[in-house]
């Protein structure tokens, strides 16, 4: 255990209960908007099933789709790069910029570049990166990672954002009106868009049939960056492919309704060929995805379209905050993706769930998230990423429960203890007791009662 883990980070988050309530309510409100949008589409469940089947087909035929996509994209004039891991991805970006002697880049939202820690890498190599999504710009100014894949600064209050803008963008002290702050960011980032020669965007969907890719934003920042820059670099995980253009109809209907309850993002831009005089590059990134593809129990996680619905609905995420997951992607989906990248580092995440199953129900591509959480727990324990104390406790439990006699004796002792020596249970060492009373011990168990009364 070499870093602070989810239980400790959530304990810290829960020290301010008012803030937890605020965080929980805000995300629940988004979940409610999602429900309203979903219930407005009578064929919603058929859409989810269709999307799931399309993504299953993608995973089962990914080799051919990648080859098809590359050929079509190249024919369209897009330069295609392949990156086996985060390091290679970052090097490709840097070399593209260096070749054109560019030292400044504007970036729209890309969780993949968060996963690759691209910003830190580029900054170390003398490239100034500005995130243009408002939420991402805010966490960038705060020197924090995003806490949510769709709502990067959902953990920040407007007064804190006002303070950041006061320090970095020169707004008046004490201003926290979202309208004014957004206008300030608009002016600041217009300047950025107009002066940056390079733009990096993420990719929501790439189409094998045509070699084009689609980027969805509400703010228009991806387009502002890409259409003004000399060079547009798009980074995508290899699982973002879909077979045909017509399949976008299914995914674009599901994506934002699941994410925020909107019928569609303001902009759904289809990039097929570079603009006259512009360079367009796409980097296809593996970074552990092919390993996950080989794990039969977990490969479904690669169907994810990054809508964030599982985070908004997760009762644990809402009460622990995105940063408690100490990973680029938080919440239930992060908890099944992260152990594939580093099982030891993220061994705590599959346990940060009650397995309530709400995540699986909201997932627009029907990933069996809570079942995978259960399965990761088994893998993590088998691979030895657990504590000796926990293993010992479980062995004692097995020893007790595997014999009816030992079980009855243990029950008797347990009830006797709670009744006659509550201080041995009701103390600091018992985490249950910290915020909850112990159950009252009845005078006899059901089996004892049954023996007398049958």
């Amino acid at each position: 255990m070499n870093s602070i883990k989810h239980p400790e980070l959530s304990t810290i988050f829960n020290e301010d209960e008012e803030r937890v309530n605020w965080h929980d309510d805000t995300l629940w409100w988004i979940r409610a908007k999602r429900d309203k949008a979903a219930h407005g589409i009578s064929e919603w469940e058929i859409l989810r099933e269709t999307a799931s089947q399309i993504k299953d087909n993608v995973l089962s035929n990914l080799h051919q789709y990648l080859i098809d996509f590359e050929a079509k994209a190249q024919a369209n004039g897009i330069v295609v790069h392949w990156a086996a891991n985060a390091e290679e991805h970052n090097k490709i970006v840097l070399s593209l910029l260096q070749k054109k002697d560019i030292h400044q880049m504007v970036k729209s939202k890309s969780m993949l570049t968060e996963e690759c820690h691209l910003n830190e890498y580029l900054e170390k190599n003398g490239i100034d990166v500005i995130d243009s999504d408002l939420g991402e710009r805010i966490v960038q100014l705060a020197k924090e990672p995003p806490s949510h894949i769709v709502l990067p600064c959902i953990h920040k209050k407007k007064e804190e954002i006002g303070q950041l803008f006061h320090e970095h963008l020169g707004t008046e002290f004490g201003i926290s009106d979202p309208q004014i702050l957004t206008e300030t960011a608009r002016l600041h980032l217009r300047e950025t868009f107009l002066t940056r020669r390079s733009a990096l965007t993420g990719v929501n969907f790439a189409i094998a049939e045509t070699g084009e890719f689609v980027v969805c934003t509400n703010e228009g920042n991806a387009d502002m960056g890409a259409h003004l820059a000399d060079i547009h670099i798009a980074s995508m995980g290899i699982e973002k492919l879909i077979p045909k253009k017509k399949h976008l109809s299914v995914f674009l209907r599901l994506l934002t309704r699941s994410a925020t309850g909107q019928p569609i993002t303001t902009y759904s831009s289809h990039f097929k060929k570079p603009r006259k005089g512009q360079e367009m590059h796409i980097i296809l990134v593996d970074n552990g995805r092919t390993v996950q593809l080989g794990r039969a129990d977990f490969r479904n996680s690669l169907k994810c379209i990054r809508c964030g619905a599982c985070m908004n609905t997760c009762p644990v995420y809402r009460r622990s905050g995105g940063h408690s997951y100490h990973n680029a992607i938080a919440g239930p989906i992060g908890a099944i993706l992260a152990p594939n990248l580093d099982m030891k580092e993220y061994a705590d995440l599959p346990f940060a769930s009650t397995l309530c199953g709400s995540c699986t129900n909201v997932c627009p591509v029907k990933i069996d998230i809570h079942d995978q959480l259960y399965k990761w727990r088994q893998v993590i324990v088998k691979e030895g990423n657990t504590t000796a104390a926990k293993t010992m406790a479980m062995k004692v439990m097995d020893f007790t429960l595997s014999s009816p006699t030992r079980y009855k004796l243990a029950g008797k002792i347990g009830r006797w203890t709670i009744k006659h020596a509550p201080f041995t249970v009701n103390n600091k060492l018992n985490l249950w007791f910290k915020n909850r009373e112990m159950p009252e011990a009845p005078k006899e168990s059901f089996s004892e009662w049954f023996k007398k009364n049958k």
């Binding site: 407007k158 387009d223 502002m224 909107q262 092919t290």
Partner: protein, 194 residues
């Protein structure tokens, strides 16, 4: 190197091929209902609809809402009084555009999205960089849903195409909706009726 390595790993690890599902087909409501739904959706997502009988009506709208010194761009041949551009200028020169009007292919009732391709934009950046945006949508060109939309797009070729649904927006600060994040502050649909 990495290409071969990634492709080999994919081939080795991908599961047995599963079939693609059949295309989704839904009965389309009547044209009147589709138009009504479109107007309702656009309004909901922060846009406005102005019904027009001919493209000349747009000139009236502009003269009522903009000053002579405003920079107004359009490639619509019917609109004669406004600044024309060749498409060869640098996109940066389009900064300070106050209002831009575009022809479009079609619009979608279920989400208010309007489909527009590069040839209709003149410059890819123009629909985004303009302060205020307007699109001409012919009433006959409104489809009910995205499945119908892609039946049209499927057969189109373009360098760049985009769905635009309403003005640019953000809710990143405490989920308060603010219009006019980086793109257009407003979107007007000129709904051309026969």
């Amino acid at each position: 190197m990495s290409r071969a390595q990634i492709l080999a790993a994919v081939l080795n690890n991908q599961p047995l091929e599963t079939l693609l599902p059949a295309d989704l087909e839904f009965d389309s409501p009547s044209k009147d209902l589709v138009i009504e739904k479109f107007v309702e959706t656009i309004t909901m997502i922060g846009g406005q609809v102005i019904k027009i009988k001919s493209l000349q009506d747009i000139e009236n709208y502009i003269s009522e809402n903009y000053l002579p010194e405003n920079r107004i761009l359009s490639q619509l041949t019917e609109l004669t009084n406004y600044y024309k551009f060749s498409g060869d200028e640098s996109p940066h020169e389009l900064e300070n555009t106050d209002f831009a009007v575009f022809n479009t292919h079609f619009a979608v009732a279920e989400n208010g999205a309007v489909w527009i391709t590069e040839d209709q934009m003149g410059h890819r950046v123009l629909p985004f960089i303009t302060q205020h945006l307007a699109m001409v949508v012919k009433a006959e060109n409104i489809v009910a849903n995205m499945h119908q939309a892609y039946k049209i797009i499927e057969n189109q070729d373009y360098g760049f195409g985009t769905f635009i649904a309403g003005p640019s927006k953000t809710a990143d600060i405490e989920q308060s909706l603010v219009l006019g994040a980086h793109g257009a502050r407003s979107m007007t649909i000129f709904l051309l009726e026969n």
